[in-house]
Symmetry: C3
Subunit: 430 residues, 3 copies
Amino acid sequence: MKIFCVILCLFLLVPGMHGSDGGVEGLLEILLHNGTITREQYDQIARQTHKDSSPPADVKITTDGGLQASTYDGRFAFNLGGVFASDTVLYREDKNPLGSGTEIRSARVILGGVLYSDWEFDYSMEFSDAAVEIKDAFLNYRGFSHIDLQLGHFKPFFSLEQIGSRKHTTFMERGLPNALTHDRKIGIGATFRERFWTASAGFFGENYGMIAGNEGDEGWTTTGRFIVTPVQAAGRLWHFGASIAYQRFGDDKEWRIRSRPESHLTGTRYLHTGRMRNARDMLGYGIESAVILGPFSIQGEYLRTSLNMEGGNETPSFHGAYIFGSWLITGESRNYRTERGVFGRVRPDRSYGAFELAVRYSFLDLNSPPSVAGGREDNITIAFNWYLNRNIRLMTNVILVDNDEYATGNGKLHANDNPGIFQARFQIAF
Amino acid sequence: MKIFCVILCLFLLVPGMHGSDGGVEGLLEILLHNGTITREQYDQIARQTHKDSSPPADVKITTDGGLQASTYDGRFAFNLGGVFASDTVLYREDKNPLGSGTEIRSARVILGGVLYSDWEFDYSMEFSDAAVEIKDAFLNYRGFSHIDLQLGHFKPFFSLEQIGSRKHTTFMERGLPNALTHDRKIGIGATFRERFWTASAGFFGENYGMIAGNEGDEGWTTTGRFIVTPVQAAGRLWHFGASIAYQRFGDDKEWRIRSRPESHLTGTRYLHTGRMRNARDMLGYGIESAVILGPFSIQGEYLRTSLNMEGGNETPSFHGAYIFGSWLITGESRNYRTERGVFGRVRPDRSYGAFELAVRYSFLDLNSPPSVAGGREDNITIAFNWYLNRNIRLMTNVILVDNDEYATGNGKLHANDNPGIFQARFQIAF
Amino acid sequence: MKIFCVILCLFLLVPGMHGSDGGVEGLLEILLHNGTITREQYDQIARQTHKDSSPPADVKITTDGGLQASTYDGRFAFNLGGVFASDTVLYREDKNPLGSGTEIRSARVILGGVLYSDWEFDYSMEFSDAAVEIKDAFLNYRGFSHIDLQLGHFKPFFSLEQIGSRKHTTFMERGLPNALTHDRKIGIGATFRERFWTASAGFFGENYGMIAGNEGDEGWTTTGRFIVTPVQAAGRLWHFGASIAYQRFGDDKEWRIRSRPESHLTGTRYLHTGRMRNARDMLGYGIESAVILGPFSIQGEYLRTSLNMEGGNETPSFHGAYIFGSWLITGESRNYRTERGVFGRVRPDRSYGAFELAVRYSFLDLNSPPSVAGGREDNITIAFNWYLNRNIRLMTNVILVDNDEYATGNGKLHANDNPGIFQARFQIAF
């Protein structure tokens, strides 16, 4: 009877084995060694084990509303998440109509995973504009010790705020100078990481949406970013960085910069350079800094871009900057993600969530006399955010907009428009 | 040996513990208490348990073709489902061409979940028209005892058939008066539930697809629905309800109602009010009733909508109704979902599925003399449905259409058209 | 104590039961029969089993970067996968501009599953062109022993290369004659399988994207495919097949064939019949063959299509063919999937992956004198593929294009254009 009981027990080991990382598996060996079970019985159970077990106990599943699966050995993983954000916006119009109302600001589905330990992939799609926009779609090889390699469709390494995810920004929209950064493109990139600094560089084609109906050759872009983080600890950060980007235009040679007033619902873009033909290439750079001191943080960037025109000796140049301070009233700290050098999700400590108060000043100057009068805008934004939990947040922004005499949306708007904006967002993100 | 066997057994408890809701966990305590195992052994096993188990045994996974995951404590859940429906339609044309053929009627992906116990979210996208249409995208807070709060993009509380899911309708398309209801919008809502009645009210912005190229302010809508269900038991239901909706138009002040003949493949819409400019606001109401008696059920609604025009003293008014009877030949009952006051999925009892026979009469009258002649249509539909199992169904509809002399698709069609329609659907839904 | 230990063990059976396919369940019966446990104890455990187990232990989860879930009894399954492919293309232009650059070639999400054992479904969506294209969306009934039934939106049975998935093709694009095959349509189909042969036939409506703005009746298509595989073993295959397709055009009576030069980035289609009006019906056939000998394989097809015009006595006819040889340098064999008669995924044996070298000759002749001069193109392609693992591959193609004097893209291009193409792809697929 005793031996029967033991064998029975061993049968039961089968589904549990993988969970306990071989510890129980060793037991079988010991029992065989001690003579408690015979070789025949051992083999029988081993066969049984093999037949039954392979995948199920291997995979760990978690859910936080999204879904994560990973094998215990860490070789494979899968996750499924998403973002949904809806905005309500009220414009206090001044000289131009802006159009108060509601909109779905983001509706994103995110897939990711790990393959054979060293290959990570990210894939996300944005559905909010009735069409599909492919966002991240890249492979990250992390098999080397200090270097990551990226391949696919991803954001060129340029600008702290641009590289970070929209779902974690402190304000509802990125600052005005974001118009001088670069969208995701198909390319390759490498990131080299040491303890106190990180250097990234990449080479990219053109934006993927720009192919149709054009048989001219496309352009290309190369960017680099270097960051130093002398202080990184719980609730403490000093981050300094610089980015550079060189873009060679394709055969269409056409380019423009334009910007909404840090509010997405309206289609009105006060700042607009107009279409610039005969653009040959463009050189841009940016400097960035962020400091975290417990619940307080300061973050700022300055960006400048210069164009070279074909057959011309003029070099139009545009620039902008933002700086903001944030106070997490409930005492949390903003979450810096070292591996990519960007800010991540705020994680509330309390059951009722976290509160944040923030103020931003930003400007973008698209005037480059004598030839380009794209306008200049100076904005002040006051933000109050309630992070209900890790996944849900409510945001409110009050924006005071100050446009100059050239900010006419390329001649279509009244100049010197100084509207006010109140906007609120409900966001859920996994 | 005995004690060894016991310890071995206890080791095995580890993966099983979470499955048995603490029942087995109690055993460990008892064994310790009885002195069968020592405190040391207890601790060893407890540590082992802790190390191995945290996430995997916590999450319960099920699949019915879709996927559901939930933590055992019920705090988090995730599910992934979808709908696919393809139609084949044959028109017996009378005076106007309708265009027989096939189409993908629905291709939907559905994500949902629970966060921190009290927050439910629903997110679904429709892909059948080459573009993306975001359907449900809202958060439901159920942390209060009698009240649910909704926030996001969802259907305004108005009309029994409209609020219920298209994948569970008895007929292939909703009845003609559905043209008088309201699409999903961004808003907030509350539902108050008592044993025999439910009251819902919400405040909404404009449809999300209506933003582009328009800097006028958007409109808003507020709706309410009240239902009484004096009888609710297995296979028995008395449901009575009333809805009201007030819509204030935005700066575009433009509106129209139009309707296909309860068949989606054709683009022909006999009923069409034409574009009504200077519309200021709109008041609509509806009454609804449904009775289930075992395999038999009757359901009906009457809807009416009145417009107020700016600067005019005319008040165009439109109305419609449907009533249908359904007989589940194989004896099942239609499935009423109390929490939302709508009908759900038919669940066949037999291996070969369930059969349903149903007949509907419906009309929609868009004639409002003297100014609006949108036409009136009276339809009779005979439906035969085969529910192969919970997820798959085949539907057939024969529709006899009777249009009046004003049903000209706003002047583009021959009047008095009385075509016949045969349509069949294959649908799979999770 | 002994009996206690047994009972304890039996408790533990609960979570293991489903894993061992009833083998352990039988044990319970035996123990009862032997009198080792009482009926009371048996019942207690049985109840416990019932309460605890239903979903969690039932479902097996695996991940290879995608996600698979299936119940242990095999009655239900779910899987989620995807494809992402990005291309970089350099054209050595000859007479016409082609437009070098990058593009996202494929961004697909794939859902599939099993319902009630006998019903399989497949659902996939392509997102790479900003719009949504529904690909597979069908149900496969496999409840009969030799026959599968298909219902929904799927590829008509016609041509070996066309029916196989794009994610497993040896070359970056299918061969030129693929322009003579049929896209997915809504329909029904049956496949009859014997040991050495397989016969398929189906009846279909029109392509789902062709509905809008057209109230004429749609057309229909019927196709059949017959394949013989006298040799099928590990690393050995002889495959012969023939397909036939008859297409009846709808009321629009319009048709055209056109083809890119086996490179997708460019919009240039040298071969183009122009729009043929008054097309009544079309008859096509194809023959196909493939042989695998260890790491070597040869595959080829010949396709021909003839049109009947309404009121005309002319019968334009078009044809094309390809043949290619492939050598898997690292020794693997191409993977033939018997159940559908197509090629599947290459599975590398080594940690550094698998290498493949392949050469293809293909042509498509759309000249049908006297009335149609669509051009003829002859291409030679050299391919080198690196399969890094089961899911990731890098592909390179060099294509030498030879167009004849009629290959003018329906009059829009310079004739006799002989460009060269270099293209590379990065693909990840689950």
